[in-house]
Amino acid sequence: MIRYFLYLMVMNMVVNVTAFVPRIIIDERFEGSVMAVIIGIPLTVLLLYFFTNAMLRFPGKGLPEILFQHTSKWFNRPSLILLSILFFFSGWILLLAFTDITRTFINPEMTRFTILTIFLLVVGFGVLLKTEKVLYALEILTLISLPFILVIFFKAYTSPYLNWDSIRVVFTHVNELPTLSSLGSVTFSLYGFYNISIYNRVFKGEIKKINIWWTMAIIILGYVNAFTSGFIPIGFNGTSGVEDFIYPWISTSDSLRMEYGFVERIIYITLLLFIGASLIMVITIWHVGLKLLLSLFAPSKETRLKTRILSRSIVTLLIIVTYITGTRIDARQLLELTKLYYIILIPISIFFTIIVSWIAWGKKHET
C-alpha cells in the first residue's frame, strides 16, 4: 500500500509544476527562492516524517478519529472545519488555475463558465466516490500520465535551447534569505502527504513506517521536482524574460518539439496530461476535505442515507461556490490569493504536525 502514498506525493508534486508554484519561485528568484528550495525541502520532509509516521501509528484511522479520541471538543471541531476549508481551498486554487490555463492555451473562445461546468461535473462525481476508489483512480491516472510527464521532463533537460548560464545567474543569489511566499510554495509542492489524514483509513496498517531511505528518496525527488518546476523555465526563457509568463512551465513546454511525433508541439501533450492529472488531484484533495467535514456530522456509520445526502449537498455547495468565485476572479488575483494561502499554510501545517506527533508519542508511551 505504500505505492498509494507515493502516488499522493508524486501527483501533488507534478501537478504543482504547472500551477502557481513555479510562478512564485520565479517571481522571487533574486529574493531568496534559491535558498527557499534548498532549505524548504528538507524542512518539509521533516514534517512529512513526523506527521506520516504519527498517522501510521493509528492503522485504519483518519485524522478526525484521532482528534476525536485524544483531544477535547472545543479543539477538534474548529480545527477539523479549518482543515477541511484549507483542503477545499487548495483544490479550488488548482481547479481555477487549470480553468484559466485551459482558457488561455486550448480554448480561448470558450467561457470560464463552460470550462468550469465540464470540470466540475467530473470532479463532483469523483469526490463522491468511496475513499479507496479515489485512490484507485489516482493510481490509474498516475500510471497513465507519469511516463509521458517524465518524457516531457527528459525532453526539457536534453533540449539544446536550455541555457544553463541563465540558471547559474539565478543561483548566484543563493545567499539571499528566503521570503515566506517562496518558502510556502516550495513546501506546498511536497504537501501530498497531508492527504493521508483521510487515506490512512484505507491503508489499514499495511505500511508500518516511512523509514529513513524513503525520506531520503523523497528529499531527492523534491529537489529534482523543485528544480524542474522553478529553474528549467528560467533556462529556456532567460533570467529576466521568464517573468513575462503567468504559467511559465506551460509556455516553456511550447519551446519543445517532438520532431518525429504526429503531435509536434509538446505543449498540447503537456496540457492534456496535466489537466487530467490536476483534475484527479482536485478530486483527491476535495475528497479529503469532504470527509473531514463529514466526520463532524456523522461519526457513526448507521446513518448512511443521511451521510449520502449530506455529502452530496456539501459537494453541491462547493460547486456553486466555485462557480460564483471562479467566474469573477482573474489570474492575477488568484496568484496573490495563492501566495497568501501558501504562507498561512506553513504555521498551520507545523502546528498540526506537532499535535498529531504529540498524540502518537503519548500513545507510544502509554503502552
Binding site: 486550448i106 465540464i118 467530473v122 483512480a137 490509474i140 500510471l143 487530467g276 478530486i283
Partner: protein, 445 residues
C-alpha cells in the same frame, strides 16, 4: 387408516393429473397388466425417451412379474425421486419424469429426452490453439464438460429454485468450495432468489435481473467456454448456469477480465503481452478516435504538425458540413453495416458488407460527402472494436464512443480528456458483487 388416506390421496392425485393432462395431445396414460398386478404409467411423450421407457420399465415389469419386485427395481434406478406433493409431481412431469402408479405407491423416475444435445463449437469466443468446444444447451452436458476440466472434489454444484415465474427455467450455481468466499455464494443465491420475471431465456436476462438497474457496462461475464469457466472457478468465482442457454454467467468479474482472451494463457509470454497491449490500443482507438477527430479538426487543428493538419483540412475541403455531422453520419452507417451483417443469413452477409463497406465508402468520398480520412477513421474504429475479446464489453464500448463524441462536439479537446477521465471514474465507481470493477491490483504492500 394411514393406508386409506394414502390411497385416497392417490386417487385424487390421479384425477388431478388426468384433469391437467387430458387436453394435452402428447400426454400418455399407459396401463400395464400382468396376471393380477397392475401398474399405470403417466408421462409426456415428447419430453421422455420412449425407447428407454420401453427398455427400463415396461420390459422389466413383464420380466419381474411382481409389483413389489418391480417397485424395488424402480427405486434402484438412476433418476428415481421420491414423491413430495401433488404440485411437485406436475412440475416433474413437465421435466421428463414418468409417474408410476402401483396399487399402493407413487413412484417418480426421470427418463428425460433432450434434443439439441450436441456440444457446440466455440464461435463467439474462438481461440486458435485453445480448446474448441463450447457449452451446450443442456445443463447435464455442461456440468459434464466443466467437471472434465476441473477435477477437484471441492467443486460444488447447487441447484436453485427455477427462475422465471411462467417458464420455470432451471438454474444452477457452481463454485470451488475450498477457495470461494462464502458470503459471495450466499449473496449470489439471495440475488437469484429475488429474480421476478415471467420469462427468462438467457443468462443476459439473469444478469439484468440481478442488477436491477439500467447499466451500460457488463459487470458479470457471459462466456461460452468451459476452459474459461474452469479457470475462473480456480480463481474463486461463482458460475451461474441456466437451462437451455449455451452461455454461463461468471460473477464477480472485473474490467480486466473482459479484456482477456483465453488465448492469452495458451501463447508464449511475450506474444500474449503483445496481444494484450494490442487490445488496449484497440480499446483506446475505438472509444476516442471519432471524438478526437471532431475535437481536433473543429477546435484545435494546431495540435497536429502542419503537414498533417493541412492534409486533413485538404481532404475535408469538399465536405459541406461540420466535422461532427460527418463523423456521426459515417458511424451510423457503420453500425448499420455491423448490425445487418449479424442478422443477415450467412449467404447474403458478405454481399451486404461489400456493398456497404466498399462501394458506399468509395462513393461517399467521391461525392464529397465525407473526407477520405474519415473513412479511414471509421474503418479503424470498426476493426479495433472487434479486438475486444468479449462481445458484451465490445458492445458497451460501441455505445460509449457516442457519449465521448457528444462531449467532444460540445467542449473540444478538453472535453475528450475530461470525458475519458469521467469514463474512467465511472468504471471505477462500479462494483461487481462488492468487488471493485476497475482497479490495478498488485501485491498489497
Amino acid at each position: 387408516m394411514l393406508k386409506n388416506t394414502r390411497i385416497e390421496n392417490k386417487i385424487s392425485l390421479k384425477k388431478l393429473l388426468k384433469d391437467t393432462l387430458k387436453d394435452n395431445n402428447d400426454s400418455k396414460f399407459q396401463t400395464l397388466n400382468l396376471n393380477n398386478s397392475k401398474v399405470e404409467l403417466i408421462y409426456i411423450k415428447t419430453l421422455c425417451d420412449t425407447t428407454k421407457i420401453q427398455e427400463l420399465l415396461i420390459k422389466s415389469f413383464f420380466e419381474l412379474e411382481n409389483v413389489d419386485k418391480f417397485e424395488a427395481y424402480v427405486k434402484s434406478l438412476e433418476g428415481f425421486t421420491v414423491y413430495k406433493n401433488d404440485r411437485d409431481i406436475v412440475n416433474k412431469l413437465y421435466d421428463g419424469h414418468v409417474v408410476i402408479y402401483t396399487a399402493t405407491n407413487v413412484l417418480l423416475i426421470q427418463v428425460r429426452n433432450y434434443e439439441n444435445l450436441g456440444v457446440l463449437q466455440a464461435t463467439t469466443e474462438s481461440t486458435i490453439q485453445g480448446p474448441q468446444s463450447a457449452l451446450s444447451e443442456d445443463l447435464i452436458i455442461n456440468l459434464n464438460l466443466i467437471r472434465h476440466r476441473y477435477h477437484k472434489t471441492s467443486l460444488m454444484n447447487e441447484s436453485l429454485n427455477p427462475v422465471g415465474t411462467t417458464n420455470q427455467i432451471k438454474i444452477e450455481i457452481l463454485y470451488d468450495q475450498s477457495i470461494v468466499d462464502n458470503n459471495l455464494v450466499k449473496k449470489v443465491k439471495e440475488k437469484i432468489s429475488t429474480i421476478d420475471k415471467d420469462v427468462i431465456q438467457g443468462v443476459g436476462e439473469v444478469q439484468n435481473e440481478i442488477k436491477k438497474g439500467k447499466a451500460l457496462f457488463p459487470t458479470y461475464m457471459v462466456t461460452e467456454r468451459p476452459d474459461r469457466i474452469a479457470y475462473n472457478l480456480s480463481k474463486g468465482k461463482v458460475i451461474i448456469l441456466l437451462e437451455g442457454s449455451p452461455f454461463a454467467l461468471i460473477v464477480p468479474a472485473v474490467f480486466f477480465d473482459f479484456m482477456s482472451s483465453m488465448e492469452d494463457l495458451y501463447q508464449t509470454f511475450w506474444i500474449s503481452k503483445f496481444l494484450i497491449i494490442l487490445r488496449y490500443i484497440g480499446l483506446f482507438i475505438s472509444i476516442s478516435l471519432p471524438a478526437l477527430y471532431v475535437a481536433i479538426t473543429a477546435f484545435n487543428p494546431e495540435l497536429f504538425r502542419v503537414q498533417l493538419a493541412l492534409s486533413i483540412a485538404g481532404s475535408r475541403i469538399a465536405v459541406p458540413y461540420p466535422a461532427y455531422l460527418e463523423v456521426l453520419f459515417m458511424l451510423v452507417i457503420m453500425e448499420m453495416l455491423i448490425e445487418s451483417s449479424i442478422r443477415l443469413p450467412k449467404t447474403i452477409g458478405p454481399t451486404a458488407t461489400t456493398v456497404g463497406g466498399l462501394i458506399l465508402g468509395q462513393a461517399s468520398t467521391d461525392a464529397g460527402l465525407v473526407s477520405n480520412i474519415m473513412i479511414i477513421i471509421v474503418a479503424a474504429v470498426a476493426i479495433s472494436n472487434f479486438v475486444i475479446p468479449l462481445n458484451e464489453m465490445g458492445s458497451a464500448i460501441r455505445v460509449l464512443k457516442y457519449i465521448l463524441l457528444l462531449v467532444a462536439t460540445s467542449f473540444g479537446t478538453i472535453g475528450v480528456v475530461v470525458g475519458l477521465l469521467g469514463i474512467l471514474l465511472y468504471l471505477i465507481h462500479l462494483d461487481s458483487f462488492d468487488e471493485p470493477f476497475l482497479r490495478i491490483t498488485g501485491s498489497e504492500k
